[in-house]
Symmetry: C2
Subunit: 306 residues, 2 copies
Amino acid sequence: MPSTGPRPVAVELNAVLVALIDDEPQVLTLEDGALLPSGPFEGDHPTLQAGVRAWVERQTHHPLGYVEQLYTFADRYRESTMGYRIVSISYLGLTRERAAAGQHEPGWQSFYRYFPWEDWREGPPKVLARAILPRLKSWIDAVTDDARRQRRQRVEGNFDLSDWNEELMLQRYELLYEAGLVPEAGRRRKPVADPVPGEPMHYDHRRILATGIARLRAKIKYRPVVFELMSPDFTLGQLQRAVEALAGRPLHKQNFRRQVEQQGLVEETGAMTAGTGGRPAKLFRFRREIVLERAVAGSKLPLARS
Amino acid sequence: MPSTGPRPVAVELNAVLVALIDDEPQVLTLEDGALLPSGPFEGDHPTLQAGVRAWVERQTHHPLGYVEQLYTFADRYRESTMGYRIVSISYLGLTRERAAAGQHEPGWQSFYRYFPWEDWREGPPKVLARAILPRLKSWIDAVTDDARRQRRQRVEGNFDLSDWNEELMLQRYELLYEAGLVPEAGRRRKPVADPVPGEPMHYDHRRILATGIARLRAKIKYRPVVFELMSPDFTLGQLQRAVEALAGRPLHKQNFRRQVEQQGLVEETGAMTAGTGGRPAKLFRFRREIVLERAVAGSKLPLARS
DNA sequence: ATTTATATACTCAAATTGAGCATATAGGTG
DNA sequence: CACCTATATGCTCAATTTGAGTATATAAAT
């Protein structure tokens, strides 16, 4: 008979911890890149957020500038071998990293190792035309009539090379999963014979990673979160490269500066860079007060009279 | 000694279930408006979303058009009397309701019963100038120096009458809570002596409600979710009143139609309304295919050359 | 001296947005 | 019926915002 007490459930935390190292967007991983850092939710933390913060800072020895909840999963397949259910709560965290000592820090992996088709900084990734689109075409043609029309619309809406939308990253990943082009361990699905380029991860960690990056890509457009990834002083060029790294696409330099400056997000420190080759750049710092002043968001409704 | 098995945890689901009844945005409640519908997560559902959907549809006998996860709470104070921890996962759900039989359906309550300062459809709510702003002023003046400057900036950013931002609803609620102007049961805080107008709820349900409405207010601007609340055929006037009800502010009629039409979200049914007093209006229906075609989002980055 | 990089200032046309005028067509009223 | 009120719909126009350049400045490298 059903007990009225709590069902045995384990609460697990997953973190998508992001840093920029040498203009490359990186995520902290374990097991040679196959796992996101995860840990149990300890009972002695007052809140979930505090738990994540304490736990990540203990692991990385870096202060966590920004933490945001991503999503909670409790799917059926998420069961331990002991039979109890697992609830996974995932978080996005942003941290500041100095330039890498060597090539890259152990554990830090570039976003685009997992999603090579998402890096448009140097133009359209070849993997799209070469491997992904043809296979999506086959996937479309594997059915007929209305189902085919639906598949075609989804592919066209999410993979339009002539009008790429970097925010649709999660939806693209999910579509590739449905089309059987990316493997995902732990799900009951026939194994993917010939996956598309891009490293897989264990369990659904690649999906969680996609969720985190997609959220970040959306957020940098209306909230000043990039600054959590920058060192205190930076040039507008560095700031631009940071945004480009996250969004995965090149920006128009002059318009980027105009936007940043007229939003009043930064102020000059007075100092300049030196020895970078090319004209020295002014150094800026983020005006942290702005966060309090303008809790802005992107309105678009056609409002009426004042 | 600490066991390695799962800590006893109960998973609870909360729902912010929204419907429009007679142009009034309503939320389904229990206990005479003091509780959001909540229930345990049954182990026999494949996913959380399926659990919410089944459970809500069983309670309301209405199909749930749209479901979205809001937030997961596991705060310290969220403990049952039995000593185990409670994880609350809250959802936003949209459903279609016909016009009310009588005054309003039992259980359905207007948003603005809980947040009267958020309804700007008839201009600035008097409660703001009369009750809220003076008390926030006192709250600012209760401290000095930098703390006072910070409080002032937060109040000015979130309660600017001359530039009201309906999306900041959650932040405003949280500020009122911090300022001791709204009560919230279950939190260890001194009871609020003289709360500002607006019905309270048990536990943190009013906060969850604010989270849901704020999310909805943000979402209607870039996703066609309003249509989940409309009957299949509607006039542009009805659609506008629906958006106004959710956003809590009046819209410019001609610009609203322009926006809706040029986005290609709707198509004429061919029929017209009758007997409404005034010129008859064309009836429209939502073009559901559009969701597949354009998985749009609101870009704002200054992109570079194609 | 010239080339190559980067930084920064300024311009201009196209597109979007905010605000309003004008007209159409119903119901209600004296 | 003539007129008023209410809603719907079509269209215009100026202000702002955005996308895409051109032009110039200042460093390092050849």
